[in-house]
């Protein structure tokens, strides 16, 4: 019975994807990205149980941390994901996140700007594909009923949970994740290392102006090479008993 219902959902989603190709809308989604530093740090494999608990004890509660806002602007044929320009001024600027993730759905290619270990890369190539497992679980995110999907991050080998809605028919989402039968409104890395949750969704029949980079600066690369570099640094840091995320964007 359960198998049947999942199959049924899959068929519906497939119909949705077909429908999406012919009819779409533009819009902007604002996400809030929260990086739960203590959770990430306490999972380092080289720590003793006591050291893990000590990190959670000292740093576990960060109620005042508001996170950072990101936007996903999309049209029928493309989407751009980047940090939202800051409106507020608290008298200190840390510098902006430089990553811009550009997806062209017509050519199915990327033209991303990615920062890695102090260097900028321009990544052109096919949109990365993810092996999603769609589950029969639902929840509400920013007023939309979303469905759960899971995959494994190929660099860190950590589980990723996405909540997507078939009501917004864009094959995109935050942090370059996409390929689901609808836009991803919530994304969780490794349970709760990072939570990215949509807070505001603006849809319109008029396509928004996509915030594409004004100029592309950086070394040309592809995701295979980029991810290999990332994985190398991750593995070396863990082996050297140092948290790799001091240097790496998760």
């Amino acid at each position: 019975m359960k198998h049947f219902s999942i199959k049924f959902v899959h068929i519906l989603l497939f119909i949705n994807v077909l429908y999406m190709q012919s009819h779409s809308q533009g819009g902007t989604i604002t996400y809030n990205k929260k990086y739960n530093w203590a959770n990430v740090a306490s999972k380092m494999p080289y720590l003793s149980v006591e050291e893990k608990d000590r990190i959670l004890l000292t740093w576990g509660s960060n109620k005042d941390y508001k996170g950072t806002d990101f936007i996903l602007a999309f049209t029928k044929s493309a989407s751009v994901y980047k940090q939202k320009e800051k409106e507020e001024n608290f008298g200190y600027s840390w510098g902006e996140d430089e990553d811009v993730l550009v997806r062209n759905f017509d050519t199915r290619t990327t033209k991303d700007v990615r920062e890695l270990l102090g260097k900028l890369y321009i990544i052109e190539g096919d949109i990365p594909k993810f092996k999603w497992k769609i589950l029969n679980e639902l929840k509400d995110v920013a007023g939309y009923v979303c469905m759960k999907a899971e995959t494994i991050d190929t660099v860190y080998n950590k589980p990723i949970t996405a909540w997507f809605t078939d009501k917004i028919k864009v094959l995109s989402g935050p942090e370059g994740f996409g390929g689901l039968p609808g836009v991803i409104l919530e994304l969780n890395y490794n349970n709760d290392d990072i939570n990215i949750i949509a807070t505001k969704i603006e849809l319109s029949d008029v396509d928004p102006v996509l915030p594409l980079p004004k100029k592309y600066k950086g070394k040309k690369s592809d995701y295979q090479e980029f991810n290999a570099k990332k994985k190398k640094h991750y593995t070396l840091s863990i082996e050297g008993r140092r948290n790799p995320f001091w240097d790496l964007r998760y």
Binding site: R54, G118, K119, D140, R242
Partner: protein
């Protein structure tokens, strides 16, 4: 079909509960050890926490001076309050909160619980009994943290000191033996309550209280010689102090934020009250010799001092911040503080027959001090894309009022009424020049009020050959400080470099003015003087030779200082230059073995303008090797060698001190919860603390006898299991 909002919210609740569950934890450890030389060690800590509550206990009893409290113990005890904003709400130019560790005042009455975790080993034969409990609560609108801490510490210490002071035509040499016996019992509580009235308005109240009792006995002998040969005076002394003090410190703070992000108002007020009672004895027999070397006079001091000091400090601060645009940020602040001290020091001399006490009206004092400090200032910050520039200025006004008199109304002294006002500019740049490069530059002018010890016109005879006296005419010191630091990293190659420089120029610096009489007895008094400087630079470089197997860190620093003192009304200028290079090599060939090799050396050259033949270089060298290995099956080995060399060619001093510590331990029980350790400390029985330094017109060399070789067998139980790795974790 895809409906059911209820399902969705249930899911949400479940997620939240899972997270709460994840934040639960608790860990604890107990160690019991006994050793030769009547050494014992008992230590336990335990904590338990969930998303709302954290409770922790710590207890220690030892006489080793080694297994005190560590950084980890501090975090385990304080929990989420480890990095709580300092209870110091003096608003100023700086953006964030700074957390300072380390003790501040001399009687340690005003120190915090946290200071107990960061006190170093000062040699001697220390004993420690410590107990504490901490509770933190954090839920919805309310936060509470409260702790109680008990400390019973003691130290028996014998110190041999040689001091040489350069005078215009000759030197004064002092050989001293001192035996200290210190003991203190402190009780301390700290509480803080925070309530968020709504999402924009917060109120915080704090209350700290402490009781301190300290007993000190200091006895010894001291001989003064002219040009190393001719004995001019000798003294045997015994000084005691029985001090008790109480502290109460409370504060209230309001913080209002507005819908417009960045706009904020902060107002706070605090009241600190201390009272100290100190019952002192100053006993000494002083012999003065003629050129032939025979005593020609004797001075017997038998003083009984009763000191009472009441102090209260009222502080009030206000701050308003407003973002003027996306990139400009304005801050306005005002600080008020009023420090009020009232004291009575009654000095009684023992009468000649030894049965009566006679008040010494020349040395007894009744005094009042009031220092009112006000500062108002403003700063403007430009911040954009990782670049932050702040310019600011403040106007500070200090009023010093003092009144002091003898219990005998016939002896009259002038009251002190001084008023100072100053403009204090401020500039800071902080930002990233490129990815992985950070640069900071700052310039600040600040003023420090003189301490009560320096202000009081009280004569202290505790060392009859070096008599000190306060100076009520002292004015605040102005510090001009400029600094720069930068760091850059190549994360892919694990290479890091950094550089620092800091320059300080002192105006009205507090220096000493000394009068040395024909018997070489020194009377010292603090005075203000312009022109002292300090310049410190350092550079560091860290890189792997073989990634994750062999790593090297090097650092070199240089500090140059110019300082002054008046000796017999002649100005002495002293220049000091110190170079200190260091190298660390971490060798981690496998998971089972870690070797840490390090060396640090310092070359201190001191030049005296009054007597250039006394110019000298002190060289201190330290070489360390730590070797940790895991033999397998729960067996571990840990050894450390520390070889120190102290050298001063001018005085023909060369001392080599090798310290070797060895321990073998076995972890057992399920999850490595138990550990038995056999340790041999200071295998060669060579431990002694050496201190060498130079100051204005003076060279100083001391040796402190300290706990040396002993063996200890200990058992530890850790409820979460012992750490099995032998390598250090990199925190940054």
């Amino acid at each position: 079909m895809l409906t059911g909002k209820s399902t969705a919210s249930e899911e949400k609740t479940m997620n939240v509960e899972l997270k709460e569950e994840f934040k639960k934890g608790g860990f604890g450890k107990v160690t019991v050890g006994g050793g030769s030389m009547s050494r014992g060690d008992l230590k336990g800590n335990y904590n338990k926490f969930d998303s709302k509550n954290q409770i922790s206990f710590v207890g220690i009893a030892n006489n080793t001076g080694r297994n005190g409290l560590s950084w980890d113990d501090y975090q385990d005890f304080m929990g989420s309050k480890s990095w709580d904003d300092n209870s110091n709400y003096d608003y100023g130019f700086g953006g964030g909160f700074m957390r300072y560790f380390g003790s501040s005042s001399s009687s340690n009455l005003e120190s915090k619980v946290s200071d107990a975790f960061f006190s170093g080993n000062n040699g001697g034969f220390p004993t420690n009994i410590i107990g504490g409990v901490n509770y933190n609560y954090d839920h919805k609108k309310q936060k509470f943290s409260g702790r109680y801490f008990f400390q019973n510490t003691g130290n028996e210490k014998e110190v041999f000191t040689d001091t040489r002071t350069f005078l215009t035509d000759f030197t004064q040499d002092n050989n001293k033996y001192n035996k200290d016996n210190k003991g203190s019992i402190n009780h301390r509580t700290e509480t803080k309550y925070q309530y968020d009235i709504d999402s924009l308005l917060t109120v915080i109240a704090t209350l700290d209280a402490a009781i301190v009792n300290a007993d000190n006995t200091s006895e010894g002998t001291s001989t003064l010689r002219r040009d190393e040969i001719l004995r001019t005076s000798s003294s045997t002394y015994k000084n005691t102090s029985d001090l008790s003090g109480r502290l109460l410190n409370t504060s209230l703070l309001f913080r209002k934020k507005f819908r417009k992000a960045g706009r904020a108002i902060g107002i706070n007020a605090s009241y600190l009250k201390t009272d100290i009672y100190d019952d002192q004895k100053r006993f000494s027999d002083n012999y003065f010799y003629n050129i032939a070397g025979t005593p020609d006079s004797i001075k017997i001091i038998r003083q009984y001092n009763n000191d009472t000091l009441d102090k209260y400090v009222i502080k009030a601060n206000a701050m308003f911040s407003e973002p003027l645009s996306k990139k400009l940020f304005l801050k306005v602040f005002y600080n008020f503080s009023s420090r009020n001290e009232n004291g009575v020091r009654i000095v009684n001399d023992e009468s000649l027959n030894g049965f009566e006490r006679v008040r010494n009206d020349l040395l007894s004092r009744i005094y009042e001090n009031k220092i009112v400090n006000q500062r108002s200032g403003s700063s403007l910050t430009f911040s954009s894309n990782g670049q932050n520039f702040t310019v600011g200025g403040a106007y500070q006004q200090v009023n010093l009022n003092g009144k002091y008199e003898s219990p005998n109304p016939l002896l009259v002294y002038d009251p002190v009424n001084n008023k100072f006002s100053r403009w204090l500019p401020y500039f800071e740049y902080n930002g990233s020049l490129s990815r992985n490069t950070w640069l900071n530059f700052d310039y600040e002018k600040s003023a420090n009020e003189p301490s009560i010890e320096n202000l009081l016109p009280v004569v202290d005879f505790s060392n009859p050959q070096y008599i000190t006296e306060g100076n009520p005419d002292l004015i605040p010191t102005l510090n001009h400080q400029a600094g720069i630091w930068f760091n850059h990293s190549w994360p892919a190659d694990a290479i890091r470099i950094n550089g620092n420089a800091r320059y300080t120029y002192y105006e009205d610096q507090i220096i000493t003015s000394q009068i040395v009489d024909e018997n070489l007895i020194t009377r010292s008094k603090p005075i203000n003087y312009d022109g002292g400087t300090q310049f410190w630079t350092s550079a560091g470089f860290s890189f792997p030779i073989k990634r994750n197997k062999l790593k090297m860190r090097t650092n070199i620093s240089r500090s140059v200082g110019k300082s002054f003192a008046f000796v017999n009304n002649a100005l002495n200028k002293t220049n000091t230059e110190r170079w200190s290079p260091s190298v660390n090599i971490d060798i981690t060939p496998s998971e089972k073995t870690a070797i840490y090799v390090s060396s640090n050396i310092s070359f201190t050259t001191t030049e005296y303008d009054i007597n250039t033949s006394q110019n000298q270089t002190i060289i201190n060298q330290n070489y360390n090797v730590d070797f940790n290995t895991n033999f397998g099956k729960g067996w571990f080995w840990n050894s450390s060698l520390r070889y120190s060399i102290f050298k001063n060619e001018r005085f023909g001093i060369e001392q080599n001190i090798p310290i070797i510590n060895l321990s073998l331990y076995k972890q057992f029980l399920k999850g490595n919860k138990g550990e038995i350790r056999l340790a041999l400390y200071d295998a060669l029985n060579k431990n002694i603390q050496i201190n060498q330094s130079t100051s204005v017109s003076r060279v100083f060399d001391s040796r402190t006898l300290s706990l040396a070789r002993y063996v200890m067998l200990s058992f530890s139980y850790n409820i979460k299991g012992m750490k099995t790795s032998v390598a250090k974790t990199e925190h940054w």
